[in-house]
Symmetry: C2
DNA sequence: CTTAGCACTCAGAGAGATGGAGTGCTAACA
DNA sequence: TGTTAGCACTCCATCTCTCTGAGTGCTAAG
């Protein structure tokens, strides 16, 4: 397995990605930095096929990379160029968008940008709010016997929910209750707001404030929301323009979010590339998914992924993905240390 | 243009909708309630073709309805069965879902349900919040120099936004400001919160409370959000399973939301059916869009629509659409009269 | 006005025929 | 031993041709 054979493999992958047609020996031999004849290329191709990196759709056709071929290419052969500064700036612009940057918004922007840039579907499974701290709990009267509970986290997430009580609260009751909530919840990590803890809270309190049970329940739900990871999908539409993806499979896959979540949350670090095989749980034929983890401090708190045809320009897409997940890691980790440290946009 | 010819037209539309194949005279003649021979049917079909209600893909094929054919069928011929009680209950269940029913949630559920039921794309353009009343404005400190402004409407919409100030506010300032906002905004219709009015508010106030400008600006943005109609799209994926729709056209159409909004907001009452023609602004070939308005009190406040293939079971879909828009009208109009009148779900 | 009969049309399926891109193999060459 | 030119071979894609049958329009009889 010499240098040249690897070079030929890389060339075949790149050519196939570019054209979508099986690649013949002649096309490769005519590339500037190959410098051997088509016959030689043919010999090497036969070998690469034996090793399982290439295959022929039929006898008299050119070669197409196999999954192993792509994998070898991605892991060893491709040389993604470093992102030029101008490009980095452009990406940063896409992230920043309007207004103060909450974690949620940041992640949304990244997903949208990724879908846009790659012309693929972008997906993110985020449970970063879980690693925030409750910075504020508030109960706000909002009409007859209706109260809005509001939870704000250090990450900038704001959640609210309307609750209905049996009776109206007196100012005194409301004040007492607010005080109690502040004492017991503010400064607490979202991850620690287990249902159990909330149940204790309810129990401890409802003894003498039965009527407020729905409010506590509301807060429970909000905290559950925060602990749960959010799944965000953008650019599904892009997938439908690829001829070599089966529309039915795509639709089925998009609808089975639980499967997808499993794949995304699978624990690993850095970048992982998966290929759609019918025996795997990632079932879109001829497609691949590239997933990158991002962190908050020392925890993995989410996965950012791109789903596209297997015939994908990995050398272009992977740097984008790496850049975004690193950027997200940086920005939300920074928040974690010095809570609401957003620059004033004005 | 006698009775029988219309019956034949209806039969052809229904048969074509069912099978997707051009319909021949024989198939029609063999239907139980036709009772004439194929030759007679043929004569009638030739006439219907002359009148522009039918066309032939080619000489020796059966007939297919033209757009005029569909239109006549929808407006005069079809006899949609009244929804049986069991069906109504099922639809109601789909609407109600979890928790207290805010207007927003109601409309979301309706859209999802419609997409599900019809296996088409469902879309809604909603500006019902515009016809609500602000029931609560609140400013909540949420960290160093960060404040969350919160707007609650009589329709149950809750909007919030974090703002950053130059300085922290004293309790006194905060109290005064809150009081001022309550005085000037609570009870005011969202429609009346014009940018102009908000500007006046800012001007009147900032004279002696300059530092709060970002908060007022935040409220401005929230109120603008409320006044703007929301566009909600569900089940786009369904469109991709129809063979006779062009994927590219679908994607393009979905992406040009402004065009779609124009079509939806076009003023009319009741139900309207549009057909995709390349010269129209609704450009998906072989498709149709059915739109129904819903009201809040006396105002049209939104449009609920279904987009699917032209070959659609109108007699099934239209009653659903009518039912949902009527239901939405009833529920949100009720809210408008007696603001937060939701039944307690517990 | 309706119907049976009949000649006519034409899309779509299937069967060859053709071309060309690409291969593997062999033998010569460096 | 590795590389290259030459050549026979394979087989997909494309085209043409034919054939079939569903469906038509027209005519003449009921």
């Amino acid at each position: 397995m010499n240098e040249r054979k690897l070079k030929i493999l890389a060339a075949i992958v790149e050519e196939y990605v570019r054209t979508g047609e099986p690649v013949g020996s002649k096309a490769i031999a005519s590339l500037p930095d190959i410098g051997v004849s088509a016959a030689t290329v043919r010999n090497d191709m036969a070998l690469l096929e034996q090793l399982g990196y290439l295959e022929q759709p039929h006898t008299s056709a050119g070669r197409v990379p196999t999954i192993s071929g792509y994998r070898l290419y991605i892991e060893e052969l491709m040389r993604p160029p470093a992102l030029p500064d101008a490009e980095r700036e452009r990406l940063d612009d896409m992230l920043e968008a309007q207004g103060p940057l909450t974690e949620e918004l940041l992640i949304q922007n990244a997903t949208t940008a990724l879908a846009e840039l790659t012309q693929c579907a972008a997906v993110v499974s985020d449970f970063s709010p879980k690693f925030s701290v409750i910075s504020k709990v508030e109960v706000i009267p909002a009409g007859k016997r209706v109260y809005v509970v509001l939870l704000i986290t250090s990450g900038g997430a704001i959640k609210n929910k309307a609750c209905r009580l049996e009776f109206d609260l007196t100012n005194e009751q409301l004040g007492m209750f607010s005080e109690y909530l502040a004492q017991n919840l503010e400064g607490v990590s979202v991850a620690d707001l287990s249902d159990e803890r909330m149940a204790n809270l309810t129990a401890a309190m409802s003894a003498y404030m039965m009527t407020m049970a729905p409010l506590v329940q509301g807060i429970c739900e909000l905290s559950r929301d925060l602990r749960q990871h959010a799944l965000l999908f953008k650019g599904e539409k892009n997938l439908f323009s690829y001829e070599d993806l089966d529309k039915m499979e795509v639709v089925r896959f998009i609808e089975h979010k639980d499967e997808l979540v499993k794949l995304l949350d699978d624990s690993f670090s850095g970048i992982r590339v998966m290929f759609g095989e019918s025996d795997d749980s990632f079932v879109i034929g001829n497609s691949s998914m590239i997933v990158s983890k991002y962190r908050k401090g020392d925890h993995n708190v989410g996965s950012l992924g791109v789903i596209g045809p297997m015939r994908l320009d990995y050398a272009k897409v992977i740097p984008y993905l790496e850049y975004f997940s690193q950027k997200i890691t940086d920005l939300i980790s920074e928040d974690a240390e010095a809570p609401p440290k957003q620059d004033d946009p004005t």
